[in-house]
Symmetry: C2
């Protein structure tokens, strides 16, 4: 008798965005004239930049003729893209990463989700609370999380690190040993960043304990302040303890195109084995490379013209983040994130529960946000707003929020 | 201390294509004037059809403007593609499959490799011998294969089903129970097909034993003979025991574009759980949908114009297969496959070992093939040739082979 993976049954439902949609729809039905503005979504809205569109047209045209047609590409991505990544995302920042330490894929979510394939089930995993759910759910499916405790909203075998205003949004280093640590900076959902010193403490911990850091840098392009690390490999010692995930989704509007990459240094060895080799073997067994056309589009962001256009597009979202942050602060709210991130993490007034504040903003301002409690217990007392919307709608939403507070 | 997946160390090296490349290169170096023709590769060479190229250009252009820009798509694929699949690949053959039983992905290899995520480690897996290595390697990495026996070239916990000329290339139904059975028809590497009766026997076995059939139909479009099932769901009872993998790679030249799909009927339940639900949860956790542009390209093969063009392109490969088959038969060789497949499976003369025949053809005819032994012990005594090459080169290769035998 075929048996299914017993861990699926343990997973709690993923009700956050479904519940937001349900409440929003119910309100709209009861108030058909209300013009609802959504600042809850994590998806981009601005078009691809011309350099990327042009590059993809060229790549599509190459498929018309046998001379230029592309069949199977390298599992790990085309050299033209890996070399552009190395030059622009690493060498330009003084970080020495080789092209064969880069694995291009169909997106950072796939890599974050699949990376567990190269790890033993017998690892103690640590995550921040609040957290991007993929880290937890993928480990739960692979049997590393233990049992789900409904009351605590926690898995019994996962080590949670509260990251809140009280600790400056820096996950505290555990007293005991953990094996695999997920860090995300700029953080989803809090929008805050880890400094070089904070990352250095984690790198030292990981090297001392032979732990692994899974560093999610999907929002790296939103960093505006000098001195904030864009890559964990800017930190000395990281090459022997860290894997880094990068995405073109928010960098260049690729959420629907699908492209990202993962950096696994050759110096990263555990149990006597090269993790770079293991991931190459995993990808060659269970993946067949990212689409050529999409890789050509991604490479275009590293041309002079593409880079200029992408910076301009990012400026649009950065300005939205500023508008939200300053507006909420004007309204007397305490706001985090936004400066180096498309995410604005806002404390609810007077310790109001997340969902109550969500309802208040929906009903009085007709603005949809995301309740922080949906990202984990330590997200209670916060809401998340995103800078990915239309400028005018964003301004309008902020004015409405100010008017009701 | 972070621990790696202990199963990687058990995997034997995947030396087949590397060894072919090594021998080919050595021969070329020693014989720089030799004009080598490669009939070993499994990659397509003909360009995409105009309807597909045009559709992808349109989709790329939509990304220029915020009004038509596409962000995150559905995890399971866009309705326009799933509905076209249902209409053309299933309804047109009298098979009742619903759009929400279709999961579009970045390729059948990803799905074949990742499907194990929804299964318990505690399943007995059966595969054909010779076999497409992804079925075995992905299960080995997930801990279902036991230990690798170097001498037997087999995993201790996998049930191998020899499929050879002696049994008409129909895998024998096991006497005992197996839980998960991988079947591939038209078969890679043998190019042979399973008839409706043969499939029915497997479906009955699976239903009786609550087993699961993983049916790989990646080469379905190469079927030319009437009466050969294009989908396992043409067989009564399959919806309660089978998952089917489909690919646009060989159908429409998408090896470098990346698109495929998996069919999981809602009626498929094991351990009281819907496998359709489990796969949806798996995909939403570890995958973010296939690229919009590529899905638009794939949908174009179902338009009248696209379908006509794709049939014409497939005709090119089918004719190559015919040229190879008839040429080798003229040379006195015993040949299988080719009629419903791009693969030609050829018995070596006088029981010569695969690698010896490979060397002979390389050295005397300057033609590269794939030794059958590379696909498993029961592939010994065969070579595989593929119909994906250039027509003139294919003809020339066949003439050269005829001249040396």
């Amino acid at each position: 008798m075929a048996k299914v993976n017993e861990n699926f049954e343990k997973l709690p439902g993923s009700y956050l965005f479904a519940e937001i949609a349900r409440r929003t729809e119910a309100f709209q039905d009861a108030n058909p004239d209300a013009k609802i503005i959504k600042l809850g979504i994590g998806d981009v809205t601005q078009p691809l930049v011309p350099a990327v569109v042009d590059a993809m047209h060229e790549a599509v045209d190459e498929q018309r003729s046998a001379d230029t047609f592309k069949g199977y590409g390298p599992y790990e991505g085309y050299d033209f893209l890996r070399e552009a990544i190395v030059e622009n995302d690493f060498k330009a920042r003084g970080v020495d990463i080789a092209p064969d330490e880069i694995f291009v894929s169909d997106g950072a979510k796939s890599d974050c989700g699949n990376i567990g394939d190269i790890l033993s089930r017998d690892n103690k995993v640590a995550v921040c609370d609040p957290v991007y759910p993929v880290y937890v759910d993928s480990n739960a499916l692979e049997g590393r999380a233990g049992e789900y405790d409904v009351d605590a909203e926690e898995w019994t075998n996962i080590h949670y690190m509260p990251t809140t205003a009280e600790n400056g949004f820096c996950p505290p280093i555990p007293e005991g040993k953990v094996d695999v640590i997920y860090l995300c900076s700029p953080n989803n959902p809090t929008g805050t960043v880890l400094t070089a010193d904070q990352l250095k403490a984690w790198v030292d911990y990981a090297n001392e304990n032979d732990s692994l850091i899974m560093f999610d840098a999907a929002y790296e392009r939103f960093i505006t302040e000098p001195g904030v690390p864009h890559s964990i490999f800017e930190v000395e010692g990281a090459k022997t303890c860290a894997i880094e995930f990068r995405s073109f989704s928010k960098t260049a509007g690729f959420t629907g195109m699908r492209c990202g990459y993962t950096v696994i240094p050759k110096a990263l060895v555990r149990d006597g084995q090269s993790l770079n080799d293991l991931w190459m073997r995993r990808q060659s067994t269970k993946f067949n490379g990212a689409s050529y056309i999409i890789q050509k589009g991604a490479a275009a962001i590293y041309t002079d013209e593409g880079a200029r256009q992408v910076e301009q597009a990012l400026g649009y979202y950065r300005e939205n983040a500023r508008v939200i942050k300053e507006g909420l602060e004007d309204a007397g709210l305490q706001v985090f994130g936004a400066v180096n991130s498309p995410y604005v993490w806002c404390k609810t007034p007077d310790g109001m529960p997340s969902w109550d504040f969500f309802d208040l903003l929906l009903e009085k301002a007709n603005v949809v946000t995301t309740p922080g409690a949906g990202f984990g217990p330590a997200g209670e007392g916060y809401i998340r707003l995103t800078a990915f919307g239309d400028r005018e709608a964003t301004k309008e939403a902020v004015e409405r929020i100010k008017a009701v507070l």
